[in-house]
Symmetry: C2
Subunit: 337 residues, 2 copies
């Protein structure tokens, strides 16, 4: 049976939401869930539920890495933290996957240092599924690696292609390179080098794409440096929130708009579901030797459950094995760095 | 009287929308407008209007630089284009400002090469006013300079500060540095260098900000490299469009949602006005010796009119003189590069 370790202490509302999410996942999925965290706190949250699912257990971790702590320092010093112990379970093959809504940098550092990377991969990348009118786009990297080499972007393309193909079931995914314009001549030297690597790599590279393409759904995978990806993702999140606020304010303008909003409530509910990141769950940290999933710090229990589902699907579809094969197959194209 | 040259051929719907925008601006503002472009085409669009305002004239430019042409090449080769001739009017002090919704790269190149930069400025930056719940934020740079030095970000900060202070009338604007996290230790070497330059510069530097802060309105000015800024801006535009589409689709779901949407139509109109970039007009290309304003390629006549208004306000408040004074005042902090 597939085993998933969940960082019980990760996220703004942990362990309440992590426990709630774990219980939902334990009921819905044919997996074993190991909650890693401070046992008394986890037990206390679990006590709110009448019946603990049999496929849910606890591994005690006395320490917690805070959301604001330095990733490198905290992972080195807090070897007894829920993140370090959870990733150790992954490294020792005691679990198939690790899920955390905690300190993203710490999860990246621990996954890289303790679990290690897949053969042929130099740096991991955080992949986010972005909803668009024409479908979903996997954006890699949104912050694991803010100063990548061009070769890392090629590795993201190969891993992203494998993810979309094997986990999402789409044949021959299209790959775009995030740039400031579509023409091949655009961009920094870094981008131009990445362009030529991608072009000769054998992936289904469709050329440069722009910020506006991230949420259009026209491309299956978009690769970028972690700095630009992080800025784009956080900008998108805040725009979506701001628009919701503005719309809410406008709809409460007067009696008629309020009546209209009430009559149209079904539409707003459907709209909210479509743009709700919680529906999409966690972001895979691609390249780690073992499945490592990062969830949003503000994750609801539904988001935690869906992050666990993403972990489950990645393991079930043998994502890492496919990624390694893909990297090996393309290794003749990959110059040594 | 303040004179503004308008690139009559710039934008997706030129010269219809540029002529319409120029007529609206000529009626509303105490300025002279010189439309630069192919005289027959401009005359033809003008013929739709019963009366041509007296403060509106035409300067013939036989060539047009297309939206997809290489900026560097087109500006060098097409010296008779509307962009080149318009910027030459600016360089020769025949006009106070130039406005274009045409090829952004060509406007940046022509402004830099033909009009030149202000003393102490090494590279110009495109500044965009981003609406937020708590106010507006000026984001610099969104694409003029995709590979800046840390010093350029300090220059953007000084210019942005002057813009917010003198054109928008806000004392002691706050300045943030776009990064992937708030802690001082975050970011690439480039960002860390920019951080320390900003910290010791005497501007009201409030530290690192994130993508989510661009549309929060909590900061007056955010500086960034043109690559990240361009990606953020285009992502924001597409998210806003996608959300509109999704909302529209949801509201047409059934009879009740359609009735609700109709009753609440006043709210949707107010919502659209708030997020409509056309209300905000053009983006100043800060650092040019003479006011140069870039409008969106998809500008409506209202957006063109508002871009002309931005030009007018910049000239009226003697923005460039204030920027030069600010640069000079801070020059003791600025290391030679």
């Amino acid at each position: 049976m597939i085993k998933v370790a969940l960082d019980a202490m990760g996220g703004d509302q942990a362990p309440e939401t992590t426990v709630a999410g774990a219980i939902r996942a334990a009921r819905e999925l044919p997996i074993e869930i190991i909650m890693v965290g401070q046992r008394p706190a986890v037990e206390q949250s679990l006590a709110h539920y009448p019946k603990r699912p049999a496929n849910l257990s606890i591994v005690h971790a006395p320490d917690v890495i805070g959301m604001e702590e330095s990733p490198a320092v905290s992972v080195r010093k807090k070897r007894e933290s829920s993140i370090a112990i959870g990733v150790e379970l992954l490294a020792n093959k005691q679990v198939n996957a690790f899920v955390s809504a905690g300190n993203t940098g710490a999860v990246v550092a621990a996954s890289t240092l303790i679990a290690g990377l897949l053969p042929g991969i130099e740096r991991p990348g955080i992949a986010i599924l972005c909803p668009g009118l024409k479908g979903d786009t996997l954006l890699i990297d949104v912050g694991a690696n803010i100063n990548p080499k061009p070769l890392h972007l090629l590795q993201y393309a190969l891993m992203g292609e494998a993810y979309v193909r094997w986990v999402m079931g789409k044949q021959r995914p299209t790959i775009g390179l995030l740039n400031v314009g579509e023409e091949e001549s655009k961009g920094t030297d870094f981008i131009k080098e990445a362009y030529s690597l991608l072009e000769s790599s054998g992936v289904n590279f469709v050329g440069n794409v722009e910020g506006r393409d991230i949420f259009s759904g026209e491309f299956d995978v978009i690769v970028c440096d972690g700095f630009a990806g992080n800025v784009a993702l956080k900008t998108a999140e805040s725009i979506a929130q701001t628009m919701h606020q503005l719309l809410k304010r406008a709809l409460s303008m007067n009696l008629m708009t309020r009546l209209g909003a009430w009559l149209a409530r079904e539409a707003f509910l459907s709209f909210r579901t479509e743009v709700d990141y919680a529906e999409r769950g966690g972001a895979p940290l691609l390249g780690v030797n073992g499945v490592s999933i990062i969830a949003h710090g503000a994750s609801s229990s539904k988001a935690i459950k869906n992050a666990i589902r993403v972990a489950y699907e990645s393991v079930r579809h043998e994502l890492n094995q496919h990624m390694v094969e893909s990297i090996q197959r393309h290794s003749q194209h990959v110059p040594s760095s």
